[in-house]
């Protein structure tokens, strides 16, 4: 399966991936109306400090702890290997936040959890973070 991989040596720490992610998942057609002047809720986060920065999002684990731990059955691993969330079932208990080794789940604007689903079902069709990374520090590929 194609996954997102990051190369921390090339990451500029510019946070553009966070904006591209929030926009791709906003359902809006222009970036300004989707993001301007509002707090953003991306599904990818830049971690690190002064020396090194890197983007972190869901690894789509083959043996996912979040899916096993979700108290509401909201998380599942689909036949295509993508870990998806049925946001209508999530009750916002934070168990997945507790167990995910990567910090890949976080609450959205409405308090319900959200996570990277590789943009496969939004208008972008492939990961917006990788497509928009100016330094190719994020790639989407089969390994």
């Amino acid at each position: 399966m194609k996954r997102i991989y990051v190369n921390e040596e090339w990451c500029l720490g510019c946070h553009l991936c966070e904006y591209n992610c929030a926009f791709a998942n906003s359902g809006k057609s222009d970036m300004a109306s989707a993001l301007k002047g509002r707090p953003i809720f991306p599904r990818i986060h830049i971690e690190g400090g002064d020396r090194v920065t890197y983007a972190v999002s869901c690894r789509h684990c083959t043996d996912p702890l979040c899916v096993k731990s979700c108290i509401s059955g909201a998380l599942s691993r689909d036949a295509d290997g993508v870990i998806r969330i049925d946001r209508s079932r999530c009750v916002g208990c934070y168990t997945c936040v507790l167990v995910c080794p990567y910090g890949a789940l976080s609450p959205g604007e409405d308090g319900v959890m959200q996570k990277c689903e590789l943009c496969l079902r939004n208008a972008t069709g492939e990961p917006a973070c990788a497509a928009g990374c100016p330094n190719r520090a994020i790639v989407y590929e089969e390994r």
């Binding site: 731990s69 934070y94 507790l98």
Partner: protein, 335 residues
């Protein structure tokens, strides 16, 4: 053909089925389910009371799960006896099921200590099952005055679920703080304040001395009037089936790190089991859903001839009320 038998049909049973099917796609699985429902997400019962989860949409797996996984579910049936020598399980209707490998995934039951005058209380409930939730759901009105005995996870989740639906809620507990087994004084005070913001009243470090029909007299001499009583003092692992046949039982059914009990060909998983706790370096009942699911899977893989070890479990809780969340893990308090 003699197959696998699972006693219980909760998160641990689901894990067990999924574990078995990772190795063995063929051999039939019999699931004995005392509750007359497909496995549902037990922690959602408080959200159902609150109107945030729909009982029709609380199943743990899609509708075709059992069929797809070659399971026969005995709904509304209870396992009453295990015969380890004959490799059979007897149900309450007299049916006898032979097993090749057995998993006890029987969960826990509410523990109701003897309390003076409890028999005089007409409307009393526990809060563990879908049916408990439905009974409480039918019983309460906007005029109800609810007394909850027990300020642990289950009692407080019940309080949260009822908060907007009743006239008053009082929670009492012998412990001096809420959630005493998982939070320290500081954390507990924050949670208590949040619950109080929503009209819930507390009576802590105090215990009921005597119940009568519509009020409780506390040890301290205070009285608490109520018309609906919820007993959430604690839970006990369902260990009887294994204890009766001489298996090793402590607070739960003792297992090794492969979820094997002291009796050959019998595993245990979930709230009824006492598996290895890596933070304590010894066995402990870890009564949380993730642990039940993962122990069940480990048991299932091993029952089917695979080789799985689960030796990194730790106590952990994600708990929140009215939007205030706490995450804790490991041994939170010095012994």
């Amino acid at each position: 053909m003699t197959g696998y038998v699972i006693i219980g049909n909760g998160a641990a049973a689901i894990g067990c089925i999924e574990g078995i099917r990772q190795i063995d796609r063929e051999t039939p699985i019999a699931v004995i389910s005392a509750e007359p429902y497909p496995a549902y997400c037990r922690p959602l019962i408080s959200y159902a009371l609150e109107g945030k989860a729909d009982p029709a949409n609380m199943n743990a797996r899609p509708a075709d799960f059992y069929e797809k996984n070659g399971c026969t579910v005995f709904y509304g049936k209870t396992a009453v006896r295990i015969d380890p020598d004959g490799h059979t399980v007897t149900l309450d209707d007299g049916a006898v099921l032979p097993y090749k490998k057995l998993c006890v995934a029987a969960g826990s039951s509410p523990f109701v200590p003897p309390m003076t005058g409890l028999d005089t209380v007409e409307h009393k409930y526990t809060f563990m099952t879908m049916d408990d939730m439905r009974a409480l759901d039918r019983a309460v009105t906007p005029q109800s005055r609810v007394l909850i005995v027990g300020a642990g996870l289950i009692g407080l989740k019940c309080a949260e679920g009822l908060a907007e639906r009743v006239k008053s809620i009082t929670v009492c507990d012998l412990a001096p703080r809420v959630l005493s087994s998982i939070l320290d004084d500081e954390g507990a005070a924050l949670m208590q304040a949040k619950l109080e913001e929503h009209g819930i009243t507390f009576c802590l470090g105090d215990t009921v001395a005597q119940f009568s029909k519509d009020h409780a007299v506390m040890k301290s001499g205070k009285t608490a009037a109520f018309d609906t009583l919820v007993l959430a003092v604690g839970v006990r692992a369902n260990t009887a089936l294994i204890r009766e046949v001489g298996g090793t039982v402590n607070r739960g059914i003792v297992t090794d790190t492969r979820m094997q009990t002291s009796i050959p060909d019998i595993c245990a998983a979930g709230d009824c089991a006492e598996g290895y706790d890596a933070s304590a370096g010894s066995n402990r009942v870890l009564a949380i859903l993730p642990n039940a699911r993962i122990q069940g899977e480990c048991a299932g893989v091993n029952m089917a001839g695979g080789d799985r070890v689960y030796d990194n479990a730790i106590p952990m809780n994600a708990i929140g009320f009215f939007g205030l969340h706490a995450l804790c893990a490991g041994c939170s308090l010095a012994p």
